[in-house]
């Protein structure tokens, strides 16, 4: 195997895992933009999506497409339920309260998953087999193609939603100025609920498409949250385009770092990037400093 095809293989691996990171980061951004909340429970939505779909397919033998849709709907409901239960009752919460609440939510969702699924590992068969496609000496898994395709579709649907639908426009209005939005008659509380449901759905999609590669268990949410979080920060919190670019960059960086340097510190790469960004350019590499200062927090 030549170095060139090796590097190509790393980049392919990086892009596929990076897409998942990007989806998690998009979930962070959807909620952040409408509410100013960093939702620490975002990773649990990914886990719930993956584990629900996997158990539907392997235990109840539901066809994959139906399992996919069912899992997204269930997790979306879970996201909305979480907002009603934990975020809605709060009056004028401080940042620290919101952080603790979403952490509590993430532990609770994890606990519920443990209660339902136990500690076993679940797997979802690949959507269309495991026979790799060979390309310049590198192997591309069919699942990687699915991941890229579905991620792209989600991105297109999301931007269409925000551009063309009334709810999407209302959410954007809330994002840019909460007070003004409520003055023109937008139900801000409802938009908060929407944003949780939507980001849960996006997280669930990420969980389902990665499940055939990654295996799923109740404890898998935290690692996705952490990586997605680093990606969101790197891209500039609230910046959708930034999240996608940063996801791919970080995924590739991790893969190249593990491949060319050492796999021992693979997970530290994303976190080092996170710390560096927070220290040197807290608005993210694609955000402007001005913007981050004007944000609510």
């Amino acid at each position: 195997m030549t170095l060139g095809s090796q590097i190509l293989q790393y980049i392919i691996s990086g892009i596929s895992i990076g897409s998942i990171y990007a989806l998690v980061a998009l979930g962070f951004n959807i909620i952040y933009n409408t509410t100013g909340i960093i939702n620490f429970a975002q990773g649990e939505f990914v886990m719930l999506g993956g584990i629900t779909a996997a158990s539907l397919v392997t235990i109840f033998h539901v066809p994959i497409l139906i399992a996919f849709l069912a899992a997204v709907i269930i997790v979306t409901a879970a996201g909305a339920f979480f907002e009603r239960l934990a975020i809605h009752p709060l009056k004028n919460p401080s940042v620290i309260t919101l952080i603790i609440i979403t952490i509590a939510g993430s532990i609770l969702l994890k606990g519920i998953a443990m209660f339902i699924w136990g500690k076993d590992t679940y797997f979802l068969p690949s959507f269309s087999g495991d026979r790799p496609i060979h390309f310049l000496g590198a192997a591309i898994l069919p699942q990687t193609v699915w991941i890229l395709g579905i991620t792209g579709l989600v991105v297109i649907l999301l931007s269409a939603f925000f551009k063309f639908t009334l709810a999407g426009k209302a959410m954007r209005a809330v994002a840019s100025n909460r007070m003004a939005a409520s003055l023109v008659g937008i139900n801000v509380k409802k938009m908060v609920l929407f944003s949780f449901a939507l980001s849960a759905a996006v997280g669930a999609v990420g969980g389902i498409i990665i499940a055939p590669i990654a295996l799923m268990d109740y404890d898998k949410g935290a690692i996705f949250a952490l990586k997605g979080f680093a990606v969101a920060a790197l891209g500039g919190i609230g910046n959708f385009g930034g999240a996608i670019a940063a996801g791919l960059i970080l995924g590739i960086l991790e893969a190249l770092g593990a491949g060319l340097i050492s796999s021992h510190y693979k997970d530290a790469i994303a976190l080092m990037v996170l710390l560096l960004v927070l220290f040197l350019k807290p608005s993210g590499i694609f955000g402007s400093a001005q913007e981050s200062r004007l944000k609510k927090f």
């Binding site: 195997m1 990654a214 295996l215 404890d219 690692i223």
Partner: protein, 395 residues
């Protein structure tokens, strides 16, 4: 001010009640003793991240306790097990060990399930002079800082080094010399990596790649691509977490057709299932519990293994696991000691150290003052995955 004072006093009172509740909870457990009971402590990670170790261990010892007491106890004395959950956490294990020693005054302890937890309580049992039979894998457990065996500590699981040697033995027989290591970054994986690197030169093996992965990693294609680029003849994947199943899948996906060796940590049929066919042909050393049907009838362990497997699977309606087997061996060792020498801690220890030819699920134990594990690498059999099941590899 006065009210704050009151609040403070009630706070302290509340704490007192809490501490008191420890006692109460403890006493509630005790029923009036009919005869002098032999009390044995057990520390298992019944809940928490390592519950897949602790649960079968707990089930196993409960089953044995019932069986022993039904058949009249040990020389007429009822056996009383006091089982504590370590949650797989060092701090909780230390607390639980102290409880067993100081409150329950047990005469021996079996467990803990994990190496790290065992290491945390070795100083405690050494100081308290109480025999401990650990169910954890690491070899370091029984070794004192001066290189001798820890006086009071024994263990039943087979040694990592024996598993490594068994793998190397098989490799050598098949002409494999250049190998790649892939290990998980857990205690089990790290110990294995250490043993493999130490023993490889002894067996004439050259390690050309040494990669690791985290227990929660999603994708090992990067590590495998790196290995693929090196000119190796086989891959050893040493891990105990479900993520090791991903390695099987990724190898197939990348089209790597090298032989895959796994460690005895692969001895869980669930991993074969989640690998979805990709685990076919994997070679790994393991105790004989998983392949009891394939053993010849005259094999010394056959009877013990068959009985344990049947009892366990009938009673708990789930597959027997090697981990439960480690607890099975540990508890029967203690019971035999109690039968012979009674509940004296010192005598139990001396008995265990001199015990020869104990047939357990892990192998035939031959303890000596220089070997508190008592097993050789013959305790391992080389297994493979055939049609989604474990089977003895044809020589």
């Amino acid at each position: 001010m006065k009210k704050l004072f009151l609040a403070g006093v009630s706070l302290i009172l509340g704490l007192g009640i809490l501490i008191g509740s420890l006692d109460a909870a403890d006493e509630a457990k005790q029923e009036p003793a009919k005869l002098e009971r032999y009390k044995v402590g057990a520390l298992f990670a019944i809940t928490g991240p390592a519950s897949w170790l602790g649960e079968p261990e707990r089930n196993t010892v409960l089953m044995i306790e019932e069986e022993v007491n039904k058949s009249g106890g040990i020389n007429g004395h009822p056996l009383k097990l006091i089982i504590e959950d370590t949650v797989g956490d060092g701090t909780k294990t230390v607390n639980a060990a102290k409880k067993l020693i100081a409150s329950d005054k047990v005469c021996a302890i079996i467990g803990p399930s994990r190496s790290g937890c065992t290491m945390a309580i070795v100083p405690i049992v050494q100081a308290a002079e109480i025999p401990l039979i650990s169910c954890a894998a690491a070899e370091a457990i029984v070794i004192a800082p001066d290189g001798k065996q820890n006086k009071w500590v024994f263990k039943t699981p087979q040694k990592d080094s024996h598993a490594a040697e068994k793998i190397f033995e098989h490799m050598k027989a098949n002409g494999i010399k250049r190998i790649a290591l892939l290990t998980g970054t857990t205690g089990f994986g790290a110990q294995g990596r250490e043993q493999l690197k130490k023993l490889a030169p002894v067996w004439g093996m050259e390690i050309v790649a040494d990669e690791t992965y985290g227990p929660k990693d999603s994708d090992m294609t990067v590590q495998l691509t790196k290995i693929k680029a090196k000119n190796t003849q086989a891959i050893i994947n040493w891990s105990i977490v479900p993520a090791q199943a991903i390695v099987c899948k990724n190898m197939k996906q990348l089209g790597i057709e090298l032989p895959l060796y796994q460690s005895h940590g692969f001895g869980n049929i669930k991993y074969v299932q989640v690998a979805g066919g990709a685990a076919e042909g994997t070679i790994f050393p393991c105790g004989r519990l998983l392949v009891v049907e394939s053993l010849p009838n005259d094999h010394p362990q056959k009877k013990v293994l068959a009985r344990y497997k049947k009892d366990y699977e009938d009673r708990f309606n789930e597959n027997v696991s090697t981990f439960g087997g480690h607890a099975y061996d540990a508890l029967w060792l203690v019971i035999e000691a109690l039968k012979e020498v009674g509940p004296d801690r010192e005598k139990i220890r001396d008995y265990l150290e001199g015990k020869k030819g104990f047939v357990g699920t892990g192998g035939v134990f031959m303890f000596t003052p220089d070997d508190h594990n008592g097993l050789t690498r013959e305790a391992f059999e080389i297994l493979t995955v055939k049609d989604g099941k474990f089977d003895v590899l044809e020589k």
